[in-house]
Amino acid sequence: MATAAAHHTARTQADEAAEEAARTAAYEAVFDAAVAADDRIEPRDWMPDAYRSTLVRQIAQHAHSEIIGMQPEANWITRAPSLRRKAILMAKVQDEAGHGLYLYSAAETLGTSREELLDKLHSGRQKYSSIFNYPTLTWADVGAIGWLVDGAAITNQVPLCRCSYGPYARAMVRVCKEESFHQRQGYELLLALSRGTAEQHAMAQDAVDRWWWPSLMMFGPPDDESSHSAQSMAWKIKRHSNDELRQRFVDICVPQAASLGLTLPDPDLVWNEERGQHDFGAIDWTEFREVLKGNGPCNEQRISQRRTAHEEGAWVREAAGVYAKKHTSGTGGAASAAGETGATRA
């Protein structure tokens, strides 16, 4: 009996391994065909492990950027120089928190959790956009962030509305609508400064001078150094290379800068008739790598504020969790007000 059972088990295991391999190959073929046909991959669909982990990394980084990105702008909420501008800025920072929420939800469809992702952000195991490690030193920086940083983000994100992963693509449609609005508001803020007093104009120019190059770095390393690009393009997570998007952004910004009455801080920036595009100067990739490594002007400050907010809020989240447990027969309203708590998560 025992011997027969052992034979049976061995044969079954070999069969199962072969069947598993055949099944995976079949799934892979379906996945590849769906990507090739520009169909959307949805949460319950089979997907390669590496596709899943690339998406988790990218969506999480995107969500983290929204959350950390609130800080440089929130820095000016209490000092906004008119009530109209204050309202616009508050609404924008609120939208960013909302974008973070959509994106964490999109990432959660891939089998992770917001808690896990926040933990990785707080411990430095996941990154956020390098741009938010630069300080907002004057009011004009709020405009420069709207115009340049949101402009670069939109250039990056519009193609993501056609990304192969459905939940991410749909989040991007919603995010991009609001981002375009913010970008126009940033432009309008700079225009008001540029046409204002001499001091205001100088403030606007100084902000553009400081934010231009960091904005170009938002597109990531040059194509020949971008480690994830080829695979992401094959999977249709990315649609264009870093350098293509950066070039597109420069070509958009040059006429906008001219109509703002501001200059871009690049002596090598010139129209290239032959290419039908602008040539522009070399990016300081050493600075970019330093910022990514954590040595930018505000890396320490940004992450420590985020950690502090999370740690100091622990007792609040804990209270909501305990309350939810005590009142399990409570209303949906009670559960939703509890927000992010372990107790309310299935």
Partner: protein, 239 residues
Amino acid sequence: MTTTVNNTAALALGDDALVLSHRLGEWAGHAPVLEEEVALANIALDLLGQARVLLSLAGDEDELAYLREERAFRNLQLVEQPNGDFAHTIARQLYFSTYQRLLYAQLAAGDGEFAPLAAKAVKEVAYHQDHAEQWTLRLGDGTDVSHERMDRACRALWRFTDEMFQPVEGVDVDGEAMRAAWLESVTDVLGRATLSVPDGPRSGAWTAGAGRQGVHTESFGRMLAEMQHLHRSHPGASW
């Protein structure tokens, strides 16, 4: 900056909304959970919207917000209190939003100059009151730590609550009825949150009851210094 007597009411209500909105704006990027980043900013924006309408009734919103000094502000001392911890912020929200909901319901029912504003704002402040109530319940009836913090916050702010019911010229409401309704509502919420109603005084000449006359607490001057600095640094500029 001079203001006419007719503007007393608009300034009192507008300054309440302006100052509390500013305090809530200080939370941006510091909230205990992302949903609260959204909620606190949302409430701050509603209040700022109300402030802009009210201040515009009294004059130029930016001149009034940015060029008056501390002694010319007419807000309640309650709304200028620093955020403190989340429980302090919630206690301040509970006390003020309960008052504001009763106030705007009365104003909306009347036919005075604030009726149209109040009719719109009463929906917003009902949401604010619900938010404060839901959190009061969670903190009061949550953990021992949250109960203790919420209790402390409710007590600390209690002495600023009576000022809400002092008559303001041009605000045509029944202050006594509001005082009773407010106490009933807050007593009910605190009871359900397993918290007791604070037993200290609700006003005192040296602590509360003076904001409407332009006598404020110490932290308010620093709040204004931050709020007004940029605007004041560029006289006559537009933004």
